[in-house]
């Protein structure tokens, strides 16, 4: 009963050669997923919001709801 001699050297190198490319690739995937899943939709949402935004109208709505201390609702 003679077994094959086990690998005595290069164990860390072997592990790194296997795992580092995978780690690198997965990191890139994670970054890309975050960019296109989160940041780009968020930028688009902000752009769309401000395209149709009328600041004066929003101000008057908020004023009439009574949330300001500096101005009272119109007609008081």
């Amino acid at each position: 009963m003679s077994l094959a001699k086990p690998a005595m050297r290069g164990l860390l190198g072997k592990r790194l050669r296997f795992h580092l490319p995978i780690a690198f690739a997965l990191s890139l995937v994670a970054a890309a997923a975050f960019k296109y899943g989160v940041t780009e939709p968020r930028k688009q949402a902000y752009a769309d919001f401000y395209k149709q935004y009328d600041a004066t109208k929003e101000f008057n709505n908020m004023r009439d709801a009574g949330v300001f201390e500096s101005v009272r609702p119109t007609g008081e």
């Binding site: 968020r42 949402a45 902000y46 919001f49 929003e58 709505n61 908020m62 709801a65 009574g66 949330v67």
Partner: protein
């Protein structure tokens, strides 16, 4: 001294017999293994079964009877002359457990999980009693009416109108989107 006698007996017997004999008299013998020894003389070379340190300071069997001694003599010659059983016997003289025997699974996890759940249960009872007897009355701001007025004020102030709170409210139809 149970270890020495069973080691002596276990030389050429099956492994199960040795394990069965050595696992009695241990603390949690319901776990299935791990003998516990009483005080050890630390000034003498020790034997151990450890996965990370494979070669102990002394062999498992120190006191050899005549058959063991003759086997050890034979070991000094060419090893090709040794039969398979003799090689195994020499191994068992030198070591208590093999690596697979050292790595054998135990039933300890059941005790751990069971104990965990018991303590979760006790904690649950404590928390329930606490909620009933210890907590003061809730602040008035937790009431239904106050919460509704609070939500209306948040919508009036246009809290997070782009992606958050007010973005979910339909201001034209005065309802949630």
């Amino acid at each position: 001294m149970l270890h020495l006698t069973t080691g002596r007996v276990g030389c050429l017997l099956s492994k199960q017999a040795v394990v069965a004999l050595t696992s009695s008299g241990a603390r949690m013998s319901s776990h299935g293994h791990h003998e516990v020894s009483d005080s050890v003389d630390m000034s003498q070379p020790m034997y151990w079964d450890r996965l990370d340190t494979p070669l102990p300071d002394r062999p498992w069997k120190d006191v050899l009877d005549s058959t063991d001694k003759s086997l050890k003599q034979k070991e000094k010659g060419p090893w090709t002359a040794l039969s398979k059983e003799e090689k195994i016997a020499l191994y068992r003289l030198k070591f208590n457990h093999t690596y697979p025997e050292m790595k054998r699974p135990s039933h300890e996890w059941k005790t751990v999980i069971g104990g965990m759940f018991i303590f979760f249960g006790i904690t649950g009872l404590v928390v329930f009693w606490q909620g009933h007897y210890v907590y003061p009355p809730q602040p008035h701001t937790f009431g239904e009416e106050w919460q509704a007025k609070q939500i209306q004020r948040m919508l009036d102030m246009r809290i997070n109108p782009i992606e958050g709170f007010s973005a979910q409210w339909d201001y034209k139809n005065k309802q949630w989107k």
